[in-house]
């Protein structure tokens, strides 16, 4: 009863919280003409803290174009031309605030005329949230980056520029500062050892990457995990034969996940299992108990002499289409 009341209360709270910002914010759309005209009066760099967007309309005369920037910033221009950001100059349907160097650094006229570094937006001086918002002004609009503002990374002060270097990337693809997995290991040192364990996913070998399973830009799932198209576990993207649906499901595979039995990064145990002895792993659930509906082992399963590995008989433990005891696939 208490749980039901609590659930209703929570649902109501969530609904109110979800709708309230719409109502409040609807009064102040940031793209209104009023805002635009106010911004157009200033020759200062765009207000770097005001919103997610950097592309607020400012007097077009405050923009000088990428070619002007290149006259002084030759090295940066070289990286810019080599990378994907030069394509912004092709977005002719957008204004100058969407194009070239000034799409990220804001209008450059004042800076170009004075050579004063304080009159251009420099990423080194921004907080990670501020600098990331400047990137997201373009990159947020796709499923990959849609939740970066809510991601564990940004929440922990890891912004776009910690992994990407727009002007001097070490890895040109995605403008990365270092190749995976070293880039990830530089913070996630606790995970590095998992991939040197005897059983591990082939990350160090270059076959798969951390970002095959995790969305480094955040997502809707915890641990920044990706999912299959049907929002099933990400493991099934490669281990397709385990995805089912099966005529006889081993329910915890679907409800608790693969990580109930496996250590996904790596393990000292074969098949990346959490226990060195398969039977012990199974017995932790399949035992006589009053607290679980899992079927207990029958009395003839003598663990000391026979049945040394449950999976010798229950070979299709992830699910079966022909046997409800998982004896056959």
């Amino acid at each position: 009863m208490l749980a039901r009341t609590l659930e209703r209360w929570l649902l109501g709270t969530v609904l109110v919280l979800s709708l309230a910002p719409w109502c409040v914010a609807a009064k102040d759309p940031q793209g209104s003409d009023k805002t635009d005209s106010a911004k157009a009066k200033t020759s200062q760099p765009a207000d770097k803290k005001s919103s997610n967007s950097t592309h607020e309309k400012i007097d077009p005369s405050q923009y000088v174009g990428a070619e002007t920037c290149k006259t002084c910033h030759e090295d940066a221009a070289r990286g810019y031309d080599k990378g994907p950001h030069w394509k912004t100059t092709l977005a002719n349907h957008e204004g100058p605030e969407w194009q070239g160097c000034e799409a990220c650094h804001g209008p450059g006229k004042a800076h170009a005329e004075s050579a004063d570094p304080s009159k251009i937006i420099r990423f080194a001086g921004l907080s990670r949230e501020e600098s990331s918002k400047r990137c997201l002004a373009c990159h947020e609009f796709g499923q990959e980056h849609a939740n970066f503002l809510r991601s564990d990374h940004l929440k922990n002060n890891v912004g776009c520029v910690d992994c990407h270097s727009v002007h001097t990337p070490k890895i040109q693809a995605k403008l990365l500062r270092a190749a995976q997995p070293q880039l990830c290991f530089s913070c996630h040192a606790d995970v590095k050892s998992n991939f040197s364990m005897p059983s591990h996913h082939r990350v160090n070998e270059g076959l798969i990457t951390c970002t095959n399973c995790h969305n480094q830009h955040g997502g809707f799932l915890t641990r920044q995990l990706r999912a299959t198209a049907a929002q099933d576990q990400v493991c099934f993207n490669c281990h397709t034969d385990k995805a089912g649906p099966f005529a006889f499901e081993h329910a915890p595979v679907k409800t608790e996940g693969c990580v109930s039995c496996h250590s996904p990064h790596g393990s000292n145990n074969p098949r990346m299992l959490k226990r060195s002895n398969v039977n012990l792993l199974c017995l932790e659930c399949h035992t006589f108990t009053v607290d679980s509906a899992a079927p207990a082992i029958p009395s003839f399963h003598n663990q000391a002499q026979k049945y040394q590995a449950c999976t010798m008989c229950h070979t299709s433990i992830h699910g079966s289409n022909s046997d409800h005891f998982f004896f056959k696939p």
Binding site: L17, K82, R150, R202, N268
Partner: protein, 816 residues
């Protein structure tokens, strides 16, 4: 043995860890100058796994001078060479862990075309890279193309040759006192599989108002696997394996509303499973150390994998030595079926920050999968002694569906410059209704040499005692079974996380949150059978199993008893309410230091499995330092504590990891160093109740014949890695490295002859490499890797799994 008695130890370690983080942060905090645009230096990891260059060469081709071909700057690298491998010890473990052979290799090839003026005709950028061809277990090719605002194209091919033979896995651990003594030297579930993964994707109009994406990917598993099947004894099976999954995807993204995108996706996944199985041949069984057996009359037979005759596997010592035809055994076994699964999925998603201070994203997806196995067939010829089944055939079909609807909605509301409210909601509902119909025909016989008599009125007339009648015993199953099984599984999840984020300064922020989830899980099944019991060797033999009076009666004319049974498992739904308190703080006092600390304290009022936590504590702390532009260091602490303190379960688990890493790589210096250390502590205990004869030490009775014990699993691993590179002269670069994983632990041993195996071992991986510049574009490279896997426990009743091996890699690298 570490034990998690209460919070004192983890909390104490947490405080120590935080103190360590703070103490490390202080000296570096004084230094705050550099731009943070420097790339992270790195060293070669393992020269025999793939071609990874020491830092004298850039990781990408950009550092190369290249040539100009028309509108393109062209850069190429090619590394040809070969590997020489040798090893001693266990072949299966070597193949499972290393699998590095001898032979010529294309270690790497990369070509990069870039048009700096973006004047290419078909593309402005072209990059094609490969590694591992010629025999390495992992190969990869990747191609990317792009042309301005017209398209991006990517394609990749990956191949993973995966050999598995860790001989303790699925091993029956046959004792040496068995007659005959048959140690199983190879994992009965060994396999050689090749997984090929193809990916292509294309994006049109990457800066347009309407953006279109399409993709196709394929995962194909092919190879041969061994498995086992339980029919009296466990027969060794050979399974030619083939399954293929194709994924097609399409996306249209609309960007007409300012700062808003609306996306529509279609996915279609099609799975084909064409794996069959048959009894392993005598030659295949010999690979596992199983000798050939023959019955009187020189009739070959397989007694399966387990040989523990004192425990009756496959039969008693007396029987197997005197009358082996009375043993459990296989003459033949075959299984086939073609599984086809289709998975259409639709999804609509959006992202918007149309309104100031409000960032929204959401998605809704619907999927309806169907898996059909229309023609399953299984045949067995042998003997199951407990019920005298001499042969059976089972055939049928199955159909399973998975209907899934799910939605996510996330909002970030920026209340002030410093205060954000973040709310994320997820609703996920899937249900899996399934059905399976089959027909089974059983034939019985007294022993392996007895005929499997088919019941007919002519050969088995009343009083059903003729020698040509089926020779049932009381445990014999029905002779003909029509079975209809169905299962229904459903899970509905609602998950909501609300967080308040506050930025004290632009460099220091914290959040406080609350997560609530509600799960409703239902698993039901039903089984309806129509069973026919034939008579023989006497009239009452049909009154067995489900026909045991008063459930069934015999038709006096035919002697047959037919009975219909129905069994409905109607378990109540499992409802789990899960609540978490979340807290985190992170800061970046300057561009050389970043620290973060996150914690989650959770409680659930129920659990679906006994090892699912009802109490959860997670603590994560990270500190990254950059004392100099060429010096990085990091500390990470990750502690997870799970408990289900219900008295009958008493499940306590922890996984604690303490890691340190540092990397020194001065620009243009003649040296560099990379060091890492990690301590992993894994612990689990759960009350379990099981059967073991002879009695496992330390157990108590939990009702005859069951024994109760605490299933302790306790593992401590040390991981250390160090590598150094030296460049004593401009033309020569050398690297030396050493990695060790050392594990110790203990666990509840249920079988007195079972070794702890992978719970206690040392795995040494030293390496060295050199690269000598012969000319500006040609470099000679040599690498050496040593592998030494050594388990600390006794090997048990099978071969030791230890191995030692060398891999030498010699190559010429051409750069342009």
């Amino acid at each position: 043995m570490a034990n998690m008695k209460d919070c004192k130890r983890p909390c104490g370690r947490l405080v120590l860890s935080l103190a360590m983080l703070c103490s490390l942060a202080l000296p570096a905090a004084a230094q705050d100058k550099s731009s943070d645009t420097k790339t992270i230096p790195e060293l070669s990891m393992d020269s025999s796994r793939k071609s990874s260059d020491p830092p004298a060469w850039a990781a990408s081709n950009d550092a190369l001078k290249g040539e100009v071909w028309g509108p393109f700057e062209v850069r190429q690298t090619a590394e040809f060479g070969g590997r020489i491998s040798d090893y001693s010890g266990n072949t299966g473990t070597w193949d499972t862990f290393v699998n590095m052979g001898t032979g010529p290799r294309l270690l790497e090839y990369t070509i990069d075309l870039n048009s700096p003026t973006h004047a290419g005709y078909l593309f402005d950028k072209f990059n094609f890279t490969n590694f591992g061809y010629g025999g390495d277990p992992n190969n990869l090719s990747r191609l990317t193309l792009s042309k301005g605002k017209i398209y991006n194209f990517g394609a990749s091919f990956r191949r993973d040759q995966n050999i598995f033979d860790y001989n303790l896995f699925a091993n029956p651990l046959n004792p040496s006192n068995s007659v005959p003594n048959v140690p199983i030297v190879t994992s009965p579930h060994a396999f050689v599989l090749t997984r090929r993964m193809y990916d292509t994707n294309v994006g049109l109009f990457p800066v347009g108002k309407i953006r279109i994406k399409g993709g196709w990917s394929r995962v194909m598993n092919e190879g041969s696997t061994y498995s086992s099947v339980h029919e009296g004894t466990e027969g060794l099976l050979f399974q030619p394996t083939l399954n293929t999954t194709d994924n097609f995807s399409g996306e249209v993204s609309f960007r007409f509303i300012p700062r808003t995108s609306i996306n529509y996706n279609q996915f279609y996944t099609y799975y084909k499973g064409d794996t069959s199985a048959s009894l392993a041949t005598a030659q295949q069984q010999a690979l596992f150390g199983i000798p050939g057996f023959a019955l009187p009359g020189n009739i070959p037979v397989s007694f399966g994998i387990p040989f523990n005759t004192s425990a009756g596997q496959p039969c008693s010592t007396t029987v197997i030595t005197t009358t082996p035809q009375a043993c459990n055994g296989f003459f033949s076994y075959a299984r086939s079926g073609n599984l086809r699964t289709s998975y259409p999925t639709e999804q609509v998603s959006f992202q918007s920050n149309y309104w100031k201070n409000l960032d929204l994203s959401g998605r809704f997806g619907y999927s309806s999968a169907e898996a059909a196995n229309p023609a399953f067939n299984e045949t067995f010829n042998g003997l199951i002694t407990r019920n005298r089944v001499r042969a059976f055939e089972q055939s049928g079909s199955s159909l399973a569906r998975r209907i899934s609807a799910n939605a996510d909605f996330a909002v970030t509301y920026k209340l002030t410059e410093k205060l954000n409210i973040v709310n994320q909601s997820r609703w996920d509902n899937f249900r899996i209704p399934t059905g399976w119909n089959y027909v089974t025909g059983n034939l019985v016989g007294a022993n392996l040499l007895s005929p499997a008599n088919v019941f007919t009125p002519a050969t088995c007339p009343p009083p059903f005692t003729a020698a040509t009648c089926p020779q049932h015993n009381a445990s014999s199953p029905a002779d003909v079974i029509f079975d209809q099984l169905s299962q229904f599984m459903r899970q509905e999840t609602f998950l909501n996380t609300i967080e308040v984020e506050y930025a004290f300064t632009p460099k220091l922020s914290a959040y406080l949150g609350y997560r609530y989830s509600h799960r409703d899980i239902l698993v039901n099944d039903s089984d309806t059978q129509l069973q026919s019991f034939f008579p023989g060797p006497n009239a009452n033999a049909a009154l067995r199993g489900a026909c045991t009076p008063p459930n069934g009666t015999v038709d006096p004319a035919t002697g047959i008893c037919t009975v219909s049974t129905s069994d409905v498992g109607d378990d109540p739904a499992v409802i789990i309410n899960y609540q978490s308190a979340l807290f985190g703080i992170s800061g970046r006092p300057n561009n050389r230091i970043r620290f973060s600390f996150d914690t989650e304290l959770a409680y659930a009022d129920n659990a679906f499995t006994r090892i699912s936590p009802r109490h959860l504590q997670v603590y994560k702390g990270r500190l990254t330092l950059k004392p100099k532009d060429w010096w990085n260091a990091g500390v990470a602490v990750n502690i997870r504590e799970n408990r289900n303190t219900t008295s009958d379960i008493n499940n306590k688990q922890h996984n604690r990891s303490y890691a340190f890493t540092t990397n020194l790589s001065p620009v243009n210096a003649i040296w560099g160093v990379d060091l890492s250390y990690n301590y992993n502590d894994v612990y689990s205990q759960t009350n379990i109740c099981f059967v073991a004869t002879p009695t496992t030490p330390g157990t108590i009775s939990c009702g005859t014949p069951f024994l109760s014990a605490l299933s302790i699993y306790n593992e401590q691993s040390h991981y250390g890695s160090g590598s150094i590179y030296l460049k004593p002269v401009p033309r020569l670069t050398t690297t030396f490295g050493y990695t060790i994983t050392s594990s110790n632990g203990d666990t509840l041993i249920l079988n007195p002859i079972a070794p702890t195996g992978p719970l206690a071992f040392n795995y040494h991986l030293p390496s060295a490499s050199l690269a000598f510049d012969i000319s500006k574009s040609l470099t000679y490279k040599a690498g050496w890797n040593y592998y030494d896997y050594n388990e600390k426990s006794l090997p048990g009743p099978t071969l030791p799994r230890d191995f030692r091996g060398n891999t030498f890699t010699l190559a010429l690298r051409y750069t342009m």
